[in-house]
Each structure stands twice: as structure tokens, then as C-alpha cells.
Symmetry: C2
Subunit: 291 residues, 2 copies
Amino acid sequence: MSNPEIASEREITDRAVSSFAHTPDARLRFVLQKLVAHLHRFASEVELSDAEWSKAIEFLTATGQKCDDVVRQEFILLSDVLGLSMLVDAIEHRNGVEATESTVFGPFYIAGMPYREYGENMALVPGSASLITGHVRDAAGNPLPGATLDVWQTAENGQYSGQDITQPHGNLRGRYRTDELGRYAIRSVVPVSYPIPTDGPVGQLLQAAGRHPWRPAHLHFMLDAPGHRRLVTHVFNDDDPYIESDAVFGVKDSLRAVYQPCRAGDPLAEQFDIGTDFRHASFDFTLETAA
Amino acid sequence: MSNPEIASEREITDRAVSSFAHTPDARLRFVLQKLVAHLHRFASEVELSDAEWSKAIEFLTATGQKCDDVVRQEFILLSDVLGLSMLVDAIEHRNGVEATESTVFGPFYIAGMPYREYGENMALVPGSASLITGHVRDAAGNPLPGATLDVWQTAENGQYSGQDITQPHGNLRGRYRTDELGRYAIRSVVPVSYPIPTDGPVGQLLQAAGRHPWRPAHLHFMLDAPGHRRLVTHVFNDDDPYIESDAVFGVKDSLRAVYQPCRAGDPLAEQFDIGTDFRHASFDFTLETAA
């Protein structure tokens, strides 16, 4: 016996779906009616008990109450660990063909960070030196001078400035611009893997599910260029132990880059005035023409 | 083209479902995997946009933050107006056959309210007098002496004591017991229809959907008797203008009762010492044997 076929339950579902039939906005009507239908089908299919429903109410309430106005957004985190954020991203980019792939935005972006020079070091605290360089191009392969790369990453303690208030303002964040040849260069520290916050309901969910909370090391990018569609993505460290099991499903093969070991005396070190051994990754971006 | 068939989206869904494959608790694993599958199918089917996803995150966050530890539970309210609460109730009572039907518990119950005598008036403030009487029986029709009826309703301003802190403690609340013949009698005021709270996200949702927030007049009951399954239900005023459009879908035909007009001099008025005209409803309960 298929549970959703029980007549009294189907009747409740029908009544709830119908209650949204007069929603003035047609798109909202469509979305709400589908939401109710799927939500009810889920509950009927798993035969959701009253006790489980109570747990869910508690969980959602705690998730909302864990959010603050600054950096903690537990519902985004929930969406992330359920794979919903990546799915919405995929839906948004159904027709994106030639561009660099996108991935989750995450909750740790801060707008208005300092503009930085070509090759400037955005690490304001010591760490294992890195350099990432590449081109930004349009879909036809033409370089895009004057594109902006808004960049952010965690410190070696796994925390972002802003989230970790002991880090200086703007640490490991900044806005770079491509030069006249469409090139960018960012000095920083090598990104590290880090756990998403586990001290809230989402952490409890992962623990109950036997899932780890780690994200593979990555550098966040938001790219803008006039006449082109904004690109939000990460570049992932190819050799990270969590590269195949990102807690938020953000990894795509095309977004992996190898951080090659380089010596203090290498030509790149001289060019960018890096006085230590470091690691260098190379990654090119392609932006889609704006619709 | 059916959207969930887009390969990259199906792959994200598969990955997210699989991530819960090692949940130690088998029931939790089943529920979480179904939840993720339904949630993803919904998003793919409606082609949920990034902007809509952001709105949903905001809405859920605000819903959690509207809850307090006392009387306001906005997530229960959300579940109620989406028909989920009634669906869970129906699932819980799939095999209940002979008993009085149940309905939503609602967020306004308070435990530990005063015990009241047979026929005692639980209205501590003036209002339009009512009397409700009936029997509590088992499924075989035998009267159940000593059953407890925990009862609550709003005042004529549409608010419950506890929610409305200007009402005296225990107003329109109380625990009655059946007499040796399984009879109960409750003096009170005639229930009124009232809107669910509309000053939060759920109110905004109803407004956007063109739905009214009204619940038809009702009296809440929670019945307990040794050896029997607890029953949570309402008795609804049959003539209420919202009887066919309860904002939370709680009405069942078997739970409607007619409040008959009675005169101050009627025998019932004398029996229960009611000095004014009043309304009388009669309603019998049947409790299921405990599993």
C-alpha cells in the first residue's frame, strides 16, 4: 500500500494546495503549491510521526535562532550541507556553456574590502606563502582588462577575518583587477581545509548522520567585468584530503588547481618579491557575456 | 524536458542523498535521504532561482527568530498553515477507527491548569455564557468515569490567557473530570473565531497568498483516561463563518457541534445555576484503547 494514497491524507494535501490557489502572483502561487505538495508527499511517504515532527520544529527553531546579523547564517549552512545551495547554483547556470563553473557563495563574504595592486599580498599575518596567477577572458578567448576579482579565504586557523575578530581588517580579503593583458596575480597564504561551524544545529545534524564537517582548501572568487555575467566560484587545492568529500558539495573537477612548490630564488619569486619558498597555482577564468 | 532529468542536477541530488548513507540510525537515515530527495526534486521542478532561495533563507530565519520560549512558536504556525500539522495528525491516527477524531494541538496549551468541578465556570471574566456537556466512553460504548478533560479556549478578544497577559491566571482553562456515569459538564463563554498571529513571517505569507488568517470558533480538548490513548481535539462551533476555511485546516465534520440558544429559566440553567440566557452544546467523546 502506497502511503500517500490514503484518502484522508490526500484530502488534507489537496486542501492545503488549493488554499494557495488565489495567490495573486502567479510564480509565487506555482512555487508555494509545489512546495506544499512535495512537503506533504515527503511526510506521507516516510509516515512522519508526531515526535519526529516536534524534533523538526525544534531543529528549525534552533537553526533560526543560531543566526546573527553579522557572520553566522545557520540556514545557509543547512542548505549547503543538504546540497540545496549547489543545486540552486546548477539551476541558475543551466544555460551557461563556455564560462568557468560556479560554486556556492558561502556565508563569509564581506563587501567593500580594500582594492589591491597586481601581485599585492593580502595576507596581513604570517603563513605559508602562495601566489595564484592567471587570465580572465571572455567566451571567445579575448582577455578582459579591468575585470575585478573580489577574493576571500580563511587564515591558517580555518577562520575568516570578520568571523575571527582577532584578525586585522581586510586580512585575506581584497579586490584585485586584471591588467591591460587580462592578467591577475594574488599573493596570499596557501588555503587550508577547515570545518564548517559545528556548534549549532547543523553540526548536530552532521554528527547524527556520521558526516564530517570539512571543506577542502579553497580560495573564493567573485568576478565582475562590464558586459559580463558575475561569476561566483572557488579555486580548490587539488591535493586536499577532503577534495572528494566536501561537506557542502562545492567541488567541481574544473575548479581544481595544483599549488606547485617553488623556491625563494625562482624567477616568479623575484618578479613578485617573495623572499621565501612558496607555492604557485595557475588558474584562468572565462566569463559569460551578460544576458 | 523534465527539469529534474538534467544530469548535472541529478548528480548533485545523488551526491547529497548518498552523503547520508552512513547515518547510524536507520530511521533517521531513511527520513533524511527522503527529505533531501524531495527537497531537491521540488527545487529542480520549480527551477528555484538564487533570488527565491535567498528569500526562503530570510523567511526561515525570521520564522525562527519570531519564536520565543513562552507562547509564540512561529514554526508550528507555519506547519499549521501549510497543512503539515494536520497531515502528521492524520498519519498518527491511520489506524484509529472507533475513536473521536483528533485535530491540531496548537501552540497555546498550558500544562498544570486548575482542576475544576463538574459544571464549574472556567470563565473568570464576563462573556456570553455557554455550557457544553456530554459523555466520555470507550470504543465499546462503556462510560469512562474519572477521565480527565484538559480544556482551553480564547476569551472574546480572540486571545488565550498566557498569550494575553491581562487575563487572570487559568482564565478559560482547566481540567475537568467525568463523573461516575462518564459525564462531563463545562461552563464557559461561547468560543469565538479569531485570527492566528499575523505580525510575523507566517502572516506575511498568508497575505502574499491572499489567504485569511481566521480560525473558526472552537474549544480545545485533551482527554486522558487510564488504559486509553490520549486524544487531542477541538469541538468547533457549527455556525462559524470560517467553518469551511480554517486557516490551519483543523475542521473535521465529526467535530462540529451546535450551540443551541437556551433561556435563563430552562432546567439546564437551574441545574448548573446559570442566571442568564446561554448557549448549550452537547458532544460525546470516544477514546481508543491504548496500544
